[in-house]
Amino acid sequence: MELETAFNLINTIKNRLNSVLLGQETVVDEVLIALLSNGHILIEGVPGLGKTLLVSALANAFDGDFKRIQFTPDLMPSDITGHVMFDTESNKFRLRSGPVFTNLLLADEINRAPAKTQAALLEVMQERQVTIEGQSKPLSKPFMVLATQNPIDQEGTYPLPEAELDRFLMKIFIDYPSFDHELMLAKTLTTGSVTDQQQKQSNDVINKEDLLKLQQLASEITIDDQVVDYAVKLVRITRESAAIQRGAGPRASLALLRTARARALINGGSFVTPDDVKQMAFPVVRHRIQIAAEMEIDGLTNDQVLMQVFNQVEAPRV
């Protein structure tokens, strides 16, 4: 696939998503970056900002399968991965596939399920396969988990374990739209419609094959050695800084380079710049670190601490 064709195709998807989710251009870009990087994404935001809408809009724009799991406290691992059951008619054990056998999986309110259920996603997200009764079944390609969680209303929730957080390529925040965008949204959704749901746009923008080609193209974007060096330094400094108690692991370096490549592609670039790396460092690293106690007491967020830490790393210059 040519770079220009890819850029046009990506722009079409972006426009479709931006027409559905008004005023969230950065979020849309980040979701697309995760999609092109073949990674999973954790979306955090207060209720009513369109997290689920974004994912369903992405699924509508894509001709692959889309499934949704509403995480609840009584959800069991087998409800996610599937299980083997005895069929009395055929007198045989039959595999009943879980909802993870899809292309886009929406894990809604992922932190409402207990740890053992969340852990069912570990193999799914990393190995992209499910092991049931000792047999591994690969998931279809492409596969992406889009999980949502709510930063408030923490009662009855289970924080995601570090191992699972690390498997998310990025963690992004969705914030309130601007006045103009909210105004437009209110007008659009209340005129000629009796529900708050947007009309589904039927035509698919991209198919599975094209998406796989885009992912391949993103992985081939040129990246200079100095930029790689810069990305690794950004990740490593999180382990050396006194402001951070637990730094990001090597998986963050890989994720940072993958997302930087994808960002360069969606911006129409054929190479990765240090700006791509630095911009992606926040969503890639923010959920993989634990800031020091005093920073927490001082009310600093992970992003604020990361900003301080990243400002200690010299940007590359040839």
Partner: protein
């Protein structure tokens, strides 16, 4: 004491925030703190319990009283660890325990006797253990330190004591409730069969659980102490100056200036503080953490050592004051108010004279009311007069602030600020590139094109980008940092609002990025175009 190694963010905190921070640190270092308290505590508690059980079983509660009085002894090892760990020096449990006798040698008897009843023990213990103060020095130090935080320290002691009691009571109750009936007889040996009933088992529970609370007690008290020292000695300012000194490594005289500035500020801070805070004794007492290993010194030796140090410090300060940097003379010409003791009516002509006349006429021409012998009304009249003046000044300030954009002199002020920034020393090396004016060629566009023609396109674009950044810094007054990427540099210029400069830098940045990171060879035409535009963007040079 190396403040740059502090593992906490130094700033002014309320004592409760300090306690909160102490709890967080206790959680972080819980394992070593717990072990340092628990190992000697459990051993001693076992010995004391066995002895009491053996010798005076009817008065087993004596063991509780005995251990309670000995608690300050056990607090010292965790405090020693915490004081080192705070400065990023993590000692092993074995090392601290091997120094246990040394740590507890100083003033131990006092702490387990009459000082044991002090409710501010957690706050006061570092003054004894870390600063090694005793006698009147200790009293003076305590009076300074207790200005803030002592109430919270008392509350902390109370909370920790109650926590221990509740935990021990809870464990006692839990075991009584869950113990199988078959074992109840054995359990009753410790309870009802022995004098004291449940209280005996409660004592054992207390011995078992007290080390769980202690790390929080010690760390929180220590953080109240550290917080107080941060307030008194301005550690936060000191650290900021150290950071500034590191950042300004390119300034040739920067280090000296900063050191002097920090000294000046430090002196001003202490001289302007209340006498209680600025007492020479409190300022000079810095036995600090490094010297903690020498606490085996006798009291007299410590005091003598302090006195000699104080003299050395005072001599050093006097020498600095005598240096030429504090003896600079300069002529300043500006308008200023004359002293009221001098001839107040001899105001010079000009604008000030007119303003003064105006106000004099204003108040003299106001109708005078004969208020006779009513002094209260006089006072009211004066008050009203000053209120009116105050309202007038407030209104003027408000209007100036409200319409500040419309005043040309403010614009001039902004221009002056920019000029001032431009006059500040600029770094010589930035992003690994030499960004001094001296190292740029005379005619940059010509040199760039010459390099391109010599089949060195990469060097040509590099020179162009470097020259552009250099001009922006030295000529236009922009400041770039090493951590800024090309895009962030561009944002800095764009935010200034100068469209021409930002457009030009954008073009150069794109070209530079495609060469540096995209590994593409540029054509001559965009470089020529940029070279032609060079004079338009940076007109004063070349």
């Amino acid at each position: 004491m190396q403040l740059d190694k502090l593992c906490i963010n130094t700033k002014k905190r309320s004592p409760w925030e300090a306690i909160d921070l102490g709890c967080k640190l206790a959680i972080n270092w819980f394992k070593p703190l717990f072990l340092l308290y628990a190992i000697p505590f459990y051993i001693t508690a076992s010995i004391v319990s066995i002895l009491c059980y053996w010798l005076i079983p009817e008065y087993f509660w004596v063991s509780f009283i005995g251990m309670w009085f000995l608690k300050p002894i056990f607090d010292r090892a965790p405090l020693y660890f915490a004081s080192r760990a705070l400065f990023s020096e993590y000692l092993s449990v074995k090392t601290v325990l091997s120094n246990l006798v040394k740590i507890n040698r100083f003033d131990a008897i006092k702490w387990i006797t009459w000082r044991r009843l002090s409710p501010t023990r957690c706050f006061d213990l570092p003054i004894t253990v870390l600063e090694g103060l005793t006698g009147s020095d200790r009293s003076k130090r305590l009076s300074i330190m207790h200005v803030r935080g002592s109430g919270e320290a008392i509350m902390l002691s109370l909370i920790c004591f109650l926590s221990e009691i509740l935990l021990a009571g809870g464990l006692d109750a839990l075991i009584s409730l869950l113990l199988p009936e078959s074992l109840y007889d054995k359990y009753s040996i410790l309870t009802s069969d022995i004098a004291g009933g449940h209280f005996n088992f409660f004592i054992l529970s207390y011995f078992f659980l007290a080390p769980l609370v202690s790390p929080f007690f010690v760390c929180s008290g220590f953080m109240i102490y550290i917080n107080r020292r941060v307030q008194l000695e301005a550690w936060d300012i000191d650290i900021q100056f150290q950071k500034m000194a590191k950042k300004d490594k390119y300034r040739s005289t920067g280090n000296l200036s900063l050191t002097l500035a920090s000294l000046l500020l430090g002196c001003a801070l202490f001289s302007s503080s209340t006498p209680t805070l600025a007492e020479p004794d409190s300022f000079d007492i810095h036995l600090s953490v490094e010297e903690f290993s020498e606490i085996e010194l006798e009291d007299e030796v410590v005091v003598e050592d302090l006195s000699s140090k104080r003299q050395i410090y005072q001599q050093a300060i006097i020498e600095i004051y005598e240096s030429p940097d504090f003896r600079q003379t300069k002529e300043v010409t500006k308008w200023r108010w004359k002293q009221s003791s001098q001839n107040s009516d001899s105001w010079s002509d000009g604008l000030l004279q007119k303003i003064r006349d105006f106000f004099q006429k204003l108040f003299e021409s106001s109708p005078k009311v004969d208020i006779g012998e009513a002094p209260d009304l006089n006072i009211i009249a004066v008050l009203v007069k000053y209120l009116l003046i105050g309202a007038l000044i407030t209104a003027v300030v408000y209007l100036l602030n409200r319409y500040k954009e419309n005043f040309a002199f403010l614009t001039r002020h902004i221009q002056w600020k920019r000029k001032f920034r431009a006059q500040q020393p600029k770094p010589e090396i930035l992003f690994g590139l030499d960004v001094t004016k001296e190292n740029l060629p005379e005619d940059i566009p010509q040199e760039v094109l010459a390099l391109y023609d010599q089949n060195k396109p990469r060097q040509a674009v590099s020179l162009l980008y470097r020259a552009c950044l250099t001009k922006l810094m030295h000529q236009k007054g922009f400041h770039f940092y090493e951590s800024q990427t090309e895009g962030e540099c561009l944002q800095t210029v764009t935010r200034s609002g100068n469209q021409k400069e930002s457009d030009y830098l954008k073009k150069i940045t794109q070209l530079w990025q495609s060469v540096a990171y995209g590994h593409t060879l540029p054509n001559r035409s965009p470089i020529e175009e940029l070279c032609l535009s060079w004079q338009g963007v940076f007109p004063n040079e070349n």
